[in-house]
Subunit: 526 residues, 2 copies
């Protein structure tokens, strides 16, 4: 059993913070959890950045095998923490033990997937256009391209996935895979979970003989530590999962630097669901209860929670609403992650209740402890939705809004009206194919992932996943934060012209010592 | 012979502008060239954006073959303009006819290269993770990823490449290849050249049966038309080549939109050259004259002009400087592209002359017409350079600054001190290998392209080229604006979960009708 120390992890050191303390709160009981975590100050930020910067040139030239082994060692060390990790996680988040066990599996599986990706080396995107000394009217020089990492990356842990989107989560895994040192700003909701994982990474760094600046973990109660990290000239990219206000604030900091840097912020999504007529006619009841299951999963605290249902009004939609309402009415209240999230949820529900054009259909069971999320289902008209910006705001939690449309054209108009989304879901039967085809171009422009006959809560870590989408779902639609393609966020191309073989990086040498499938003179090598 | 009309090209129409007129000026004579081009207004911007938007969903789903043929047809139509194009180009820019003929070849070759890239389909980056219904503890859904274009793109023509970085230049070619409609804001320095190329594209759009909104061309005397285009909600990305102030102004407009969008601005680079000791000892004289040739090429108006030389001081460097000075002293003045560029060059030279720690070594021949660039070579110390931000500012034209360093450590310190660059060049012999290895990591972090024993002016259009680099060389180091990889700037991934085959885009269908090498279940198909 580890004794939690409550310290900043700067390289291989554990350092006592000098700023205001945070303590975790058990959201299920309101109990404050020891130890206290004193926050970092400007000096701690400077130390972590200096170490990361000094580690960068060495770490980015580790071999593919060495870097892959490091990622696997991280996974092994996290696995080795054992029950202490999930138990502390439960205490800090109110999430069920089984959920955290699953999340640990996902986190370690993600690290091992990136180890495979690093070994395969496709991410280097090697392109070679060999010299053509005889070409007329001008000879061609020898040109070779590979990708290199951007530099040290700051990762902000998210509250809703204390393992998979936190200290060793997807942002950290993909940045380290790309060859970027990482400084994590821990989320203040789960500092102990963060410390346990942070120390596991420290051990992996030491075991692999890597420079200590490859990883640091800082705490801080407000936005100061995070903003200072993002503003530091040695930081070259940012990964963030959280609120729209938090993400856009970091975007501003990053844009106002002397050297602006990319921010990958995953922020806000209401994940529209489009039940099409034939599907609704055939299975409105089953669809309604399945929808309720997705809506209430994890107290509605998934980024991909279905917060909006858009369909043509009529008896079938009424059946869907009734079925969903019946399921939600009996749904037990669940503990939300933090008092802050609970308060924001309550305000969001009050906002819906205060809209004159919105009808409340049902509320779920009220809880009897603190921070209990009581589900809610609301209905409005297409016209009311189109006329109200407030109705597009995310209510983070188990609340959803059904929009009744006059016809397919109005459904499409709502889809066009939406802001960017992480997901868009179509419920369809064979007879809906033409309607789905008509809607698809709009959904492609609006969302990072399009689902048919599933529910958006459930984000597979694999090669084809896109957890991303147009603003405000994310700050950069050109990428994904989940899945192996996330590595591309932290890379940039460099071209080498006429370098002698002895000076070239290994990946670019003529003999192809890494055995990569390169784009050689425009042809893909086999 | 075409009669230039002086009109905006909005879709297939030629429309008379309603705002202030611009007229081209022959920089070699000061003569004003007919016709006048009245600028666009808010209505013209709205019309062009509405057409581009309405064309987007259709254009982006054209087949690979159809889109490739369109790019080739554009090239054919530009070739077919004949001498009129290069003659008007000479009159508007003062560039020699042969240069414009070469640039036309480059422009059309670039379009044909992108046609090949589109046909090959690798840019779709298709990834398929098939369903695993038996997986424990949870089945895996079917997930398929492709890339889709971002949406309509605004391209700003550059003055220094009136064909290759203008109306049908690299930004336009790569955006159209990606499936994005393009609206070009013509550079006011060559409106007639722009019109000729714009009408060639109009003809290609019509001949290929594409929706007319795929291409429009707007004029405008100030920044209003450009800013209005970038601010329009239907525009989803921006390509720009020009000044740092112009690029950063567009970045601000793009970031302050309700939906921020990516700006690919290529702006400012002084392209350091590092002659290493053994190379300098062996061939300082030849190196000096070759350097002078690169510096004065095209009146120094290439983005990759070598504006900085950094080396250890001593007799060898003195010989390099003397040799360069001798070549520059005899170099004829050349007409600069515009009166504005000429004035900025003169001010830049005055600024160097006014620095107390900077010695003027030589000036080239003075010209006797207007807008004549008189080359200049200056020398300063490493300490002076490190102490002056002004000395890092680009002087766009044939002026360069030599920095004398005490030792290799000071050379490296200067390299670390530099802002982001398009290129960095090393002059080395075999005995310099260790010194080059020591410098390489810094150069990789600073530049998009690293050259050995060449000169940076000369940017090959191919697969491995990177014409990019960290800020302020560009606004986005993750990309290139020249070469086939430029297509990736205008794409974003979309994931399709459990879609029936009939609803899937062709590229993702199980039978692989496009014959792509997909990443199938983590393995690259052969």
């Amino acid at each position: 059993m580890t004794t939690l120390e409550g310290k900043l992890l700067i390289g291989q050191q554990a350092v006592t913070g000098q700023s205001a303390e945070i303590k975790a709160i058990n959201p299920a009981t309101g109990e404050t959890l020891a130890p206290a975590y004193a926050g970092g100050n400007a000096e701690a930020v400077d130390q972590a950045c200096a170490l990361a910067w000094s580690a960068f040139d060495q770490y980015r030239e580790t071999s593919l095998e060495q870097r892959a082994q490091f990622l696997e060692k991280m996974a092994d060390e996290i696995d080795a923490i054992g029950d202490e990790l999930t138990e502390r996680g439960v205490a800090e988040t109110g999430l069920p033990q089984a959920r955290l066990q699953g999340e640990r599996g996902r986190t370690c599986g993600q690290l091992r997937l990136f180890a495979q990706v690093v070994r395969a080396g496709e991410w280097l995107d090697v392109r070679i256009d060999p010299a053509m000394p005889e070409r007329q009217p001008m000879p061609r020089v020898d040109l070779r391209q590979r990708h290199i990492p951007l530099g040290p990356v700051v990762v902000f842990g998210a509250s809703n996935f204390p393992l998979a989107f936190s200290v060793a989560g997807g942002d950290t895994a993909s940045a380290l895979a790309a060859g970027c040192p990482v400084i994590v700003k821990a989320h203040s909701a789960h500092p102990g979970t963060a410390e346990l994982v942070g120390k596991a990474i420290q051990r992996a760094v030491a075991a692999c003989g890597l420079p200590e600046g490859v990883f640091s973990l800082l705490y801080g109660s407000g936005r100061e530590v995070g903003s200072a990290l993002v503003a530091d000239a040695r930081i070259k990219a940012v990964g963030f999962t959280g609120s729209r206000s938090g993400g856009t604030a970091l975007m501003k900091v990053a844009q106002n630097r002397p050297e602006p840097i990319p921010v990958y912020a995953e922020m806000s999504s209401i994940n529209p669901v489009f039940p099409l007529p034939a599907a609704l006619s055939a299975r409105a009841d089953a669809m309604g209860s399945a929808f309720a299951g997705s809506l209430t999963m994890g107290a509605g605290q998934f980024c991909t929670n279905p917060g909006l249902v858009i369909a043509q009004k009529g008896a079938d939609l009424d059946r869907f609403v009734s079925s969903a309402a019946a399921a939600l009415k009996d749904s037990a209240a669940q503990t939300m992650l933090t008092p802050g999230i609970f308060q924001a949820y309550e305000q969001g529900v009050l906002r819906l209740q205060g809209e004159s054009e919105v009808r409340e259909i049902v509320r779920g069971q009220a809880g009897d402890g603190p921070n209990q999320c009581q589900a809610g289902l609301f209905v409005t008209s297409a016209k009311a939705f189109l006329g109200s910006e407030a109705l597009q705001e995310e209510v983070f939690g188990s609340a959803s809004l059904v929009i009744e449309c006059d016809d397919a054209a109005e459904v499409k108009a709502i889809a066009e009206h939406l802001e960017g989304q992480l997901t868009a879901t179509v419920q369809m039967d064979d007879a809906d194919l033409d309607a789905a085809k008509a809607l698809l171009p709009t959904l492609e422009r609006k969302a990072g992932r399009i689902l048919v006959n599933g529910w958006p809560t459930g984000v597979e870590v694999c090669h084809a996943m896109v957890h991303g989408g147009p603003f405000p779902a994310t700050s950069d639609s050109r990428t994904t934060s989940v899945g192996s393609a996330a590595i591309f966020r932290f890379l940039r191309p460099v071209c080498y012209q006429d370098l002698p073989d002895a000076l070239l990086p290994e990946a670019l040498r003529e003999a192809n010592p890494l055995g990569l499938r390169r784009l050689y003179d425009g042809q893909r090598e086999q």
